[in-house]
């Protein structure tokens, strides 16, 4: 890589990192796994003067359960998420999504926090976190604050994170019994961004009536999209061919994909409908197991 010259710092504490971000302002970028930032620097699309490497900061990589909440540290590598027994127990969707993120080498370095903080609707975790109703924890010089996932994504590469704030943790409510989740994306080849991707989490009561539904869509909208009408189409109802078709139709109508080399807008809408249908089936199948 032949990037522009830059300064590199590797602070040992979160406080130190935050003070550096405050000091260098717009000229500084946080380096986590580096798999979005480094390629952009290589092509000189991103030319930060300072790289603040947070990899040496302790207590940012963990997967734990506390008081009915699953907490994932921002520095947790995709590979750790892929193989976590705790996540497998509650959220089969993580095994789906991590296997579709790039390749094993990238997953050994890439972090879940970086995937979200990059603010790219083509990344896969945003849709998953929307479906799971996650909360983002950001830490700055004024301490921690919680951001609901629906408030987090503001635009292309833009998030609710302020300058001087670091995404430190993701918190996900432990799902009730009768919950299942699933994710899939269509990609042109391994490691590609999604042509379309759909994340689903559903909770069914003992009679098979849907009591909660979460739908997140990948790369078919300028910002990561919650398919709210699809969720409403299912809650309070049984999962039937008709309700599934309705949810699929709403998601394909409510997204706003653009035509590109991956396919036309029409194709992408059609694929959203196909994936919504398939992911509902998969989530329901996982509940009944």
């Amino acid at each position: 890589m032949i990037a522009q010259s830059f300064q590199y710092a590797s602070p040992g504490t979160l406080a130190e990192a935050i003070s550096m971000l405050d000091k260098y302002g717009e000229d500084a970028k946080v380096l986590s796994g580096g798999h979005s930032l480094i390629p952009m620097m290589k092509l000189r699309f991103a030319n930060p003067e300072w790289l603040i490497d947070i990899n040496g900061i302790p207590n940012l990589a963990h997967i734990k359960e506390e008081g009915g909440v699953i907490k994932i540290g921002a520095l947790t590598r995709e590979a750790e998420i892929e193989h976590s027994d705790l996540l497998k127990k509650y959220f089969p969707i993580f095994a789906d999504v991590t296997k579709l993120i790039a390749d094993p080498q990238v997953r050994n370095r890439g972090t879940v926090g970086g995937n979200l903080a990059h603010g790219d609707a083509a990344n896969d975790h945003p849709a998953v976190m929307l479906a799971l109703n996650a909360t983002i924890v950001a830490t700055g010089s004024n301490g921690e604050r919680s951001i609901a996932i629906d408030e987090f994504f503001h635009g292309f590469y833009m998030t609710a994170l302020e300058h001087g704030e670091i995404l430190t943790e993701i918190q996900i409510p432990e799902p009730p019994a009768g919950t299942g989740s699933a994710y899939h994306k269509l990609e042109r080849k391994v490691g590609d961004y999604a042509t379309a991707g759909v994340a689903v989490q559903l909770t069914l009561d003992s009679k098979g009536v849907c009591t909660a539904a979460g739908f997140g869509l990948t790369n078919v909208n300028p910002v990561p999209l919650r398919a709210s009408r699809s969720e409403k189409a299912l809650v309070g109802k049984s999962i039937t061919d008709e309700t599934i078709a309705e949810a699929a139709k709403y998601a394909s109508e409510d997204c706003s994909p653009s035509s590109d080399l991956r396919g036309s807008e029409e194709y992408k809408r059609a694929m959203v409908a196909v994936l919504v249908k398939r992911m509902i089936h998969k989530a329901v199948e996982r509940i009944s197991k």
Partner: protein
């Protein structure tokens, strides 16, 4: 099973000897151009045009010169002073080294920045300010052929259109007559997409000009070091760099695939700069430059027609090609064959009438037309004939395997004269296809397909039974820039019986250090592990035309066998002298001569070589060396029968290659393990254009997929499980009966995949789709036929 004549200790032909070169490669000790570091070496980076067609109004280098470490910025005007701003292409066209006034394609070289580090060179490149006046680019080759279109190559005096050349083969009148009378005629318009070799190592060089001795050493990524030395001497002879003053060294190469045959402007600029400043200059492309600016492959638009009877006898074919060469014809074909060996397009079938013609045209796209793992346009030809064979079978409702069986040239009909003038050396097409059908379980698959169709599921079976034409070539017809397409081997056996052998070819991953040693081991009985193979240094290796077009085994491999046989003849004379018998009384078995009927009277090859230095007959020349320049009497004609099975997701258009069986006939096999590796790699480079790869440009000539993020090179994940096998019909004219195999799988597999996909979609009236066939393209085709969601 392959029968070996030699023991495993000798490891002649047929042994799966492990590759000798891998000892260094798997330990990270390969030595590539970018590993070369010389004292005082400078680094070059290149400013490139963002426009496909523009006038250069001004180049401002002042900011670039202020970047710390930048020592010079070179433009076309600087090179013009030395008349080095233009160069010839291998096809005797002309190409700018650096422009003086106009850029003709996006990513064209505009200025070179020379600096003391790689980083400073890139910073300097970003600081060069070029003022352009963009012009309307001509991107569509059909539009470029229109007489009303503006002339692009205004540098050529008297040029009034964008047409480059017209070429034809076969009998036009006879073909027209057969077509007009035929009961069945099928026709399709097809495009073989513009693709890129995308070798792992990009192109690059270190030009090291020594002012004191007026000598240039050029370390570079080239598949043809000797020819390039001659080209450099032709370009730079007028400034004193004559051929004896130039040494080209091609070190380890990380994949060539035809992309490292041409001369790129970067090489010439590096030489010019080193010549002017007297210091070594390194130039290594980055990945995007390699993809966007280096020679493309294919880009043939083909109007393909086949005529036949209602019962399924092929009567004639007619192929009309429009070849988009971009800004200049920078292909690397033999001089007399501007459309390469495209006239092999009559394929494996026994019919007597064909006509093929091609026109080439300039557009505002990067130049090229290289033979990407292909013996000069054979891939395009194979796609045309194999697609049309399936198209014809579909038209008359006949099974495509049976139709092929009914039309194949019979094995007893070789040597076979094709209607476009080739003499096929050998083959057994019926045996190949039968073997492939047996392995894949063809009859059962067709039954399964009927059942699946009844359930509304999409499954397809595709066949490709191709004939290749490789090993260029006989001196009466084949030359590059006038140099005949022989190749060479020089064997020198040391007193202790160990050897060094040097060749005019250059391995880029083919395993020459192993296979050439095995050929010599077969002929002389010296263990292959005791034979060191060297290539790529023009100061030491004999002159040769290089490695491409599957020509190394057919030409240099043959030269190795003939040179070794010259040495065996000498060994026989020494053995007769030492054993005090006449030469006729001696019998050879690999590694020794013994007296007929008295096997205890024996001399090993090692003893005989030692005697060649210590105790040879009076009047005999000392030493044990031989050289041979091999002029092949004919080309070789490898063939293959490939069957592909696909399942298609009718909701997403997703294509799953369930099975792929490849039965190859490459004649006698030198190293089965290496051949299997070649076939695996080639098949993967066959699914690439069939399902993934295409360089895409917009109407202004901007590349839309100029990085590997969007130019989709398939990986292990996309590769199906390859099932390989062989039929062996030795080439009757080749010293060891080998035909070459490097390219067969790349050439033969795309139509098998395309045919399988079209077979799956044919119930909906889909008769053709251009490759690459993607899920989106399948979805769109189903939608257009009203079949989506049905």
């Amino acid at each position: 099973m392959i029968q070996c004549k030699t023991s495993k200790a000798i490891s002649g032909m047929g042994h799966s000897m492990k590759r000798k070169e891998d000892i260094r490669f798997i330990q990270g000790r390969g030595h590539y151009v970018d590993d070369i570091k010389l004292d005082g070496m400078l680094y070059m980076d290149i400013t490139r045009s963002p426009y496909a067609y523009a006038k250069i109004k001004n180049i401002d280098i002042s900011e670039a010169m202020k970047v710390p470490g930048v020592v010079a910025v070179i433009t076309g005007k600087d090179l013009e002073k030395y008349n080095l701003h233009w160069m010839p292409t291998i096809m005797s066209d002309t190409q700018m080294v650096l422009p003086t006034d106009t850029v003709m394609y996006q990513a064209q070289e505009v200025a070179a920045v020379i600096a003391t580090s790689r980083y400073a060179a890139r910073d300097g490149r970003e600081a060069v300010k070029v003022e352009y006046e963009p012009m309307q680019a001509l991107v569509d080759p059909f539009k470029a052929m229109d007489p009303s279109s503006p002339v692009l190559r205004t540098d050529k005096p008297g040029k009034t259109d964008n047409h480059i050349w017209h070429w034809e083969a076969g009998d036009k009148a006879k073909t027209e007559k057969v077509f007009s009378e035929a009961a069945v005629v099928v026709k399709e318009q097809m495009h073989i997409p513009r693709i890129h070799v995308s070798s792992i190592e990009t192109c690059g060089c270190v030009a090291d000009y020594d002012k004191i001795n007026n000598h240039l050493t050029m370390y570079m990524t080239t598949q043809a070091p000797h020819v390039l030395r001659t080209v450099f001497a032709l370009v730079a002879g007028h400034v004193g760099l004559t051929e004896e003053k130039i040494r080209v060294v091609s070190p380890d190469i990380g994949g060539g695939f035809g992309g490292k045959v041409p001369v790129y402007p970067g090489y010439v600029i590096a030489i010019a700069v080193s010549f002017l400043v007297g210091k070594p200059v390194k130039w290594i492309e980055d990945r995007s430059e390699n993809l966007q600016a280096d020679s493309f492959a294919r880009d043939y638009h083909i109007t393909a027609e086949m005529a036949g009877t209602k019962e399924g006898k092929i009567l004639a074919t007619r192929f009309k090609v429009l070849a988009d060469h971009g800004y200049t014809d920078a292909a690397a074909n033999p001089s007399k064959y501007p459309a390469g060996l495209f006239s092999i397009a009559t394929g494996s079938y026994d019919y007597g009438t064909a006509f093929v013609e091609a026109d080439a045209v300039y557009t505002n796209k990067p130049p090229g037309g290289v033979a990407y793992r292909c013996s000069f346009r054979v891939t395009e030809a194979v796609h045309a004939i194999e697609r049309m064979t399936d198209r014809y079978a579909l038209e008359i409702g006949k099974d495509p395997a049976q139709l092929r069986m009914d039309n194949f040239i019979k094995k007893e009909d070789f040597p076979w004269h094709s209607p476009t003038g080739w003499i096929y050396d050998s083959g057994d097409y019926h045996a190949g296809l039968q073997k492939a059908m047996d392995v894949v379980g063809y009859a059962d698959l067709r039954k399964e397909q009927v059942e699946k169709r009844a359930k509304g599921e999409l499954m397809g079976i595709g066949i490709s039974t191709f004939t290749e034409i490789v090993g260029a070539g006989p001196s009466k017809d084949f030359d590059i820039l006038g140099i005949k397409m022989f190749d060479s081997a020089e064997i020198r056996v040391h007193p202790t019986g160990k050897a060094i052998a040097r060749f005019g070819t250059k391995s880029q991953g083919q395993g020459h250090e192993t296979t050439y040693a095995q050929i010599i081991a077969e002929e002389l009985g010296i263990p292959a592990e005791n034979i060191q193979v060297e290539e790529g240094d023009t100061d030491t290796a004999p002159y040769g035309l290089g490695t491409y077009a599957s020509r190394s085994t057919p030409t240099a491999g043959a030269a190795a066998a003939v040179a070794a046989r010259k040495l065996r003849d000498k060994a026989r004379k020494i053995a007769a002298y030492l054993l005090e018998v006449s030469e006729d009384d001696l019998e050879w078995e690999p590694g020794k001569f013994f007296v007929k009927g008295a096997p205890e009277k024996v001399k090993t090859i090692q003893e005989l070589v030692f005697a060649a230095y210590t105790n040879f007959p009076q009047g005999m020349e000392a030493g044990f060396e031989a050289t041979h320049y091999y002029d092949p009497p004919n080309l070789t004609f490898p063939s293959g029968a490939y069957i592909c099975v696909v399942d298609i997701d009718k909701e997403t258009g997703g294509i799953h290659v369930r099975r792929f069986v490849a039965i190859d006939d490459c004649g006698h096999i030198i190293n089965p393990m290496i051949v299997q590796g070649q076939v695996h790699g080639g098949l993967t480079q066959g699914i690439a254009p069939a399902m993934y790869e295409e360089l895409i440009y917009d109407e202004a000539g901007n590349i839309l997929n100029g990085t590997l993020m969007d130019y989709l090179v398939p990986t292990a994940v996309e590769s199906p499980k390859w099932e390989t096998g062989h039929v062996v019909t030795p080439s009757p004219h080749h010293p060891i009966g080998a035909k070459g195999v490097g390219e067969s799988p790349t050439v033969g597999s795309p139509p098998a995949i395309a045919n399988a996909i079209i077979d799956a979609l044919s119930p909906f009236g889909i008769t053709h789709l251009d490759i690459p066939i993607t899920p989106f393209k399948v979805w769109k085709a189903l939608k257009e036929k009203g079949a989506y969601g049905k």
